[in-house]
Symmetry: C2
């Protein structure tokens, strides 16, 4: 049975030592003092460990089952969902007008991490609802908000996002689902949507589907896509439930992982739908919530790696195998624990330094979202737009890589389902695919975000690194182990950006390097996070912090990342500089 | 339903253009002319595509089932196994004295690849038997050989390898399984072995278990381990089957993949066993077959990537999504096929250039094994010993990475089991673990093989690269795109070797870089293979070969590998040069 303990201390470190949330001039942030966040984070961690984590393997083993159109979630999910609702965990950052607690998004993110680490498939029921809430909140009419949001905030009703169709995922302009106007202002929605997470289940009395469809007679392609609310059960004006709507789950998919979440084929047969926002502006409505959704998926990536890492550490301390080459560490035992071996440590340090860096990066992203939304800060908005594909693409690629690396520590036992390590890898795998496959994230980054607003945001990012280095290069310890490698990596990243600019007229040269650029930028971002965290830890030690071991470990972990991971940027740059010729050389038939 | 077509043309290219097998001065190789190998390879490919491949998904879905101690293999496996036996596919490189065909190991390897690509789990029943055959062939008495080998060559009886116990895998010195001498020269074997592939099943009338155990009173630890034959059914002197022996399958494991192969807990309860070779020399008997076994696992790695790649190419050509940024390639269709997009091509070229390089590397390894065994060539033996951990570790890491990358091309469909791409990744995953986890391969390479015979073999390898570069640097096309990057990568590898030598007294510094070194050496080996293949392809084109497209594609694919993959060596070197300090910095309690 795998273990999970929420990393409360590290979450607090990121919130307070790194981001200094309670000192920020953002509405609501002054409430986030150490005691308050500690109480929330500890309680979330407790729920995660005690309620959600024990159901993780159950969800994987049982999966969801569909019988006579009814989808049954795994044993215990329903009860756990009730507990989440009762605890108010579904409403943290939602608007108090609709029953939410109005907390900052960064606080929501800090509480989400343990839930996702403990049981990713379970948490998606709530996560999708949150996404649907955000879309209606941003684009729905007052009437729609009043009608749907209170029950979605409380998760009495859950939500879904319906984008993909059998023949189109990334290229939604090919969409075929149709919307035909009714006389009363509503629409008849017909078509088939696939890969709909939480599309049908038994944990809520109603499901509010958000559906992209084309209104007949509208513009061709992506410009003719509109967003609709399609409730499973019609909602009467008094809020009571009416007739069943013309939407049904056709089947649930057998997947590699996240078995506890029902992934549905949804069939719409003249279902009644209500337009959200303007006609043909459905994609815009989707885009406004994309930063949050993609940050949430990036979090899934590293949160699975965190869980897998905790187990790998436990196993490495427990399993006796071989001897330390420099002398027995457990001379009275039959062998030393795995953790004495350098290559096991190399593996664990890779995991640890990634997860902690990724946590800082993700929370920083959430903080930028707060700054953008609550302060109408355009710079923060531009920066998080730039970072979003990196958070999503890099953290999920690496999250899967390290969940797999943690599995490797177990040797043969890692491959046996009973030990639970396979599930972390299988669950983490989806995060690289959904919410825009990672190749699409790289395309978004290089093809769109770099040049956005005249390249202003990426320049601001470079400037931020430069300023940080300049301000701190007098700090010798920081300079040698952190600033010097950060400077080199940032220089590589700028050189790659320069290459793309010089090749603006040859888009294949730039796009051939997009994936490398995304990873390179991921390393630079984590490098920046580590340099900042090291500085914060050094300051804490200088300030006489009592938990010296924690801060010293933090600095040592950062040193590892800078020394062993940042050299990857030079490799990515070398690849990018080879351009597109070798990539585009073959005729399609010769693959 | 996934596809699979054996890459006959490429297999022939490696055998004849690259290795020039029929021109080699090795007994049996002069039979390997193009017509003969083509006939064998094509027929193997046909069996793979038509018989084994259709059972791959069946095996994954049904798995093996144990009822009342009987293990039932998936539907169709038994019939397919009969076909393999009838076709003589189980006997290719075995000694004719015991019913084999006596073909070179490289030919066996060339025929194995399609079998493994088509159905890895199925092929393991035969693969394990082959391993057990080799151990008995090398170390058994004449009587044992006469008694067991003919039926094992024909696969009427299958074989297993019993090493791992619940508390020990890598560190077999901790073994508890006991052997107590009987009066008649046999032994009573008692203990539990786990992860025994093909330990129990319904496809053979008898199963010959090779079991490592400790004879009571023998030396402590690994030096007291002996090897035993423990048949499931006792074998009478006339070859007929006698009573059931005291060995039984306790349970079969639920695994992440290779569901079609039964992975068994085997319980030995005073089972009758027969010593193979000398007392306490069990590990030596194991080691002699390790090169072959590990090469076979390396082959599994790239063979799964090959299958996954073929499907990814088909999907990329088929699926219409988005438009070529340089202008529509399918203007009459609703969108262009995925393969127009640079990042999809980047991904497919990664896969293609790896698989073809890996095939060459593996076949070259098999050829070295032939040279070592059939010519008693000590240099070849030293070289393959050096290469074995690289073939196993690098090719299985990359094989899994690229099976996963192929899955990514499918977007959401890649995560749905129905499409078959998940299975390639899940099956490939085990190859990184069994037959010595890849971290152990890296340790073997850096801790043992580099220094073997005074470092003679690694020096010979460097010399081989140097000579090849020197002999060909007049060839301008080869020099620019192939020899120059190979020289740089080889220089990185030598620098890493130098670092290890300088740190001989600080073993943690060397071992901290072992994994990076293994990957670095993998890239140099594939770089060497690609340089040689490019030269062979250029010569074929100069010689007026008719299939110019094949050879030009080969050169272009090699150019990709050299340009985009070889820069990894500099990153690995940079990591290695940071030594062990950042890796060993933390106390175990601070992970």
């Amino acid at each position: 049975m795998p273990i999970y303990n929420a990393p409360n201390k590290d979450i607090q470190f990121v919130l307070h030592d790194l981001l200094k949330v309670s000192e920020q001039d953002i509405p609501g942030f002054d409430d986030l003092d150490r005691d308050f966040t500690s109480a929330v984070v500890e309680e979330a961690g407790k729920v995660a460990s005690e309620v959600l984590h024990p159901l993780n393997v159950v969800g994987d083993t049982e999966g969801c089952v569909m019988e006579n159109g009814v989808v049954r979630t795994p044993t215990g999910f329903k009860e756990a969902f009730e507990q989440m609702k009762e605890g108010g965990w579904t409403a943290m950052d939602c608007d108090p007008e609709y029953g939410g607690q109005g907390l900052p998004y960064v606080m929501h993110t800090a509480a989400q991490e343990p839930f996702v680490s403990a049981n990713m498939a379970f948490n998606m029921y709530q996560g999708l609802t949150h996404g649907a809430y955000s879309a209606i909140y941003a684009h729905g009419s007052d009437e729609q908000k009043q009608k749907y949001l209170p029950k979605m905030v409380s998760c009495e009703w859950t939500g879904t996002m319906n984008l993909t169709e059998p023949h189109c995922g990334t290229d939604l302009g090919l969409m075929r689902t149709k919307a035909v106007p009714n006389d009363d202002g509503s629409y008849k929605i017909s078509g088939q949507k696939i890969f709909i997470s939480a599309g049908e289940h038994d944990m809520a009395e109603n499901i509010i589907h958000l559906v992209l469809a084309k209104i007949q007679g509208g513009p061709e392609g992506i410009k003719g896509v509109s967003l609709f609310i399609v409730p499973k059960f019609m909602v009467n004006d008094d809020g009571s439930l009416g007739a069943r709507n013309g939407v049904a789950c056709g089947k649930i998919e057998e997947k590699m992982g996240i078995h506890g979440n029902s992934t549905c084929v949804m069939n719409y047969d003249e279902a009644t739908g209500y337009l959200v926002g303007e006609e043909h502006k459905g994609m815009r409505a989707m885009f406004t919530m994309m930063n949050e959704a993609r940050l949430g998926v990036g979090l899934q990536g590293y949160a699975q790696a965190e869980s897998a890492y905790q187990n790998a550490v436990a196993y490495a301390n427990d399993r006796l195998q071989g001897r330390d080459v420099t002398g027995a560490k457990n001379p009275d035992g039959p062998a030393d624990p795995l953790i004495v071996h350098p290559d096991i440590r190399r593996n664990l340090m890779d995991q640890k330094s990634f997860v902690e860096g990724a946590r800082a990066f993700t929370f920083w992203g959430a903080y930028l979202i707060d700054r953008a939304h609550k302060n109408q800060d355009a710079e923060a908005d531009g920066l998080i737009s730039l970072m979003t594909p990196v958070i999503k693409g890099f953290l999920t690629d690496k999250g899967f890589e390290y969940a797999t690396a943690a599995q490797q520590v177990y040797g043969g036992h890692g491959y046996i389902e009973e030990w639970g390590m396979s599930q972390y890898a299988r669950d983490a795998r989806i995060a690289m695919i959904y919410e825009g496959a990672n190749g699409v994230q790289a395309l978004d980054l290089v093809g769109r975000k770099l040049a956005l607003d005249g390249g202003k945001h990426v320049m601001a990012f470079f400037e931020m690194i430069k300023t940080f280095i300049k301000e701190n290069e007098g700090n010798e310890a920081l300079n040698k182990d952190f600033l010097t490698p950060l400077k080199a990596a940032s220089k590589d990243l700028q050189a790659a950006g320069m290459y793309f600019m010089q090749n603006a007229t040859k888009p294949n040269n730039a796009l051939s390097g997009s994936y490398d650029f995304m990873h390179m930028m991921g390393h630079v971002c984590l490098g920046l996070m580590w340099a900042r965290m090291a500085k914060a830890a050094m300051e804490a030690l200088e300030g006489g912090a009592s938990d010296t071991e924690f801060y010293e470990t933090k600095i040592a972990t950062g040193r590892y990342y800078m020394a062993r991971q940042l050299p990857a940027t030079a490799m990515h740059l070398a690849r990018i500089n080879t351009g597109g010729d070798t990539i585009m050389a073959l005729e399609a038939a010769n693959f």
